[in-house]
Amino acid sequence: MTRVLTGSDIENILSSKFKNQIEFIGDDYVQVINKDSLDVFNYLKIDQNYDLLSSVTSVDRISHFEVVYHLTSLQKNESMVIKIKCGADRIDPNVKSVVSVWRGAELQEREIYDLMGIMFEGHPNMKRLLLWENFEGHPLRKDFVS
């Protein structure tokens, strides 16, 4: 059975090196600070063996946007959830792209940019994935009226 780490389990893993990076500890996730988030992901991938990025997705929380990462370690058979809050408000949400850590984020981050309008800094090919280039707006935002 895959062990799903609780918020305090994740905190224990991160606290030795990234105590200041932790922004909030939830029941089953940890929210890390947007700045220098790649250091945390590199540490989780290389030192903690979280080699499979299960999924990247985003949620429109009305007051702000957040990006949600589901990580899995094939070797340890464990999974964890890391979240990043993209700024304090809805204006220009952006996070660092994790493509340099996990290639698997390539198409998923493009999809998030397309549908939710979150920019990923450092993505090799940041353009719309599903909708056409001249499309106005980002449909998964709560203020998008279809």
């Binding site: 059975m1 895959t2 080699d51 499979l52 990025l53 299960s54 999924s55 997705t57 985003s58 949620v59 429109d60 949600v68 589901h70 094939l74 058979n77 959830v81 996990w102 290639r103 698997g104 984020a105 390539e106 198409l107 998923q108 999809e111 549908l115 719309r128 994935l129 599903l130 909708l131 056409w132 449909p139 998964l140 998008f144 279809s146």
Partner: protein, 366 residues
């Protein structure tokens, strides 16, 4: 000798692209030097539509994602809803949906193999053999729930109706016949010289590259990684079931074909074990309300769909419809490495490789 490069669009309407899929490919003679997948032609905004429907109504949207594997889509969604709202499913309901999802896996792999061989140029004969077997499964589904493709069979807590009495003898007949039919197909295809020449050592996918690119399912196992969520994270009652996990050694197109073929046999064994363990009882617990209203929270339950890890990330705000419903679509993510896999090969290998990845455009675009 330098030659002029040619850029060509393949698709969006093309018999070998399994739906509306476009590739912008740059050739040097017949050799591929760049390939860019362009998708979105079948985008229906399922994730946005889900935000305006009740939790039960969303089941019908999941059918239309990977339309060759509706039952497993239903299962992934329902498992996530059950975790979010704390519903314990009834035992018979779980066994029925396990039977349904394993039959669906056989049907989906049959389609994958059939169209892969079709892409190789063996027009229609092997494909029709496999579609004939799939047809029997669709008839079984029709008995179970009245629908063949867009089943919407599962509900939070189990399934919406029990299988009728005449379903069980038909299922047993199918289980008796199918291994012989598989032998026929294997005799016809597995050692076929042309198929071996076209698939062996083509588009080799390295283990570590595959894991790094989040590739899952038969594609990952063909590269030799023993990662099957039915075994590593047994959802439903998979921990009571024993089955082998076929693994590839090279990670080429032939391995991806073989892994799927062997998985069909294992799925047959799983259905047989489910038949031994299923017992009479209600198919859905009575206390499950018609309008599911989960508490605030979020859930993600990955399952092993025919194409790979499929999971629904649901966020609830306490209302009657999901606040956010994200689909982790294996078809989309398995396409990440398409470009790297085909560069340096010939144009004819492009379709074989694309066929062996086995994507479904309904799931890629959603």
């Amino acid at each position: 000798m330098s030659t002029e490069l040619v850029t060509m669009n393949i698709g969006p309407i093309h018999p070998s692209t399994h739906g509306v899929f476009r590739m912008r490919v740059t050739f040097d003679g017949e050799t591929i030097i760049d390939a860019e997948p362009i998708i979105g032609y079948l985008h229906r905004g399922s994730e946005k539509l889900a935000e305006e429907r009740t939790y039960t109504q969303v089941v019908t949207l999941t059918d239309r994602m990977d339309y060759t594997a509706s039952m497993t889509n239903n299962q992934a969604y329902i498992l996530s809803v059950e975790k979010l709202s704390g519903i314990t499913p009834s035992e018979r309901g779980v066994w029925l949906r396990m039977i349904a999802s394993e039959l669906q896996r056989i049907a989906a792999h049959s389609v994958a193999i059939g169209f892969l061989i079709n892409d190789l140029g063996a027009w229609h004969t092997p494909l029709l053999y496999l579609l004939r077997e799939r047809e029997k499964i669709l008839e079984l589904f029709e008995m179970m729930c009245g629908a063949r493709i867009t089943n919407s069979y599962l509900r939070p807590g189990g399934v919406f109706m029990d299988a009728p009495d005449e379903f069980w003898p038909s299922l047993n007949r199918f289980l008796d016949e199918m291994p012989n039919r598989l032998d026929d197909i294997e005799n016809l295809l597995t050692d076929n010289e042309i198929i071996l020449a076209r698939t062996q050592n083509v588009a080799i996918l390295d283990k570590n590259d595959a894991i790094n690119a989040s590739i899952t399912g038969p594609m990952l196992r063909a590269s030799g990684v023993d990662w099957d969520l039915r075994h590593r994270n047994p959802y439903d009652y998979y921990e009571k079931i024993s089955f082998r996990r076929p693994l590839g050694t090279v990670g080429d197109n032939n391995d991806r074909y073989l892994v799927r073929l062997h998985e069909i046999r294992e799925s047959l064994k799983i259905v047989e074990q489910c038949l031994d363990l299923i017992e009479p009882g209600p198919v859905q617990p009575e206390e499950v309300p018609f309008l599911v209203r989960p508490p605030k929270g979020e859930s993600y339950v990955p399952i092993e769909a025919p194409k790979g890890e499929l999971g629904f990330y649901l966020v609830s705000d306490g209302g009657i419809s999901p606040f956010r419903c994200h689909v982790r679509a294996p078809s989309l993510i398995n396409l990440t490495l398409l470009r790297d896999m085909v560069i340096g090969y010939k144009i004819a290998d492009l379709f074989v490789t694309f066929g062996s990845i086995d994507v479904n455009m309904g799931e890629v675009d959603r």
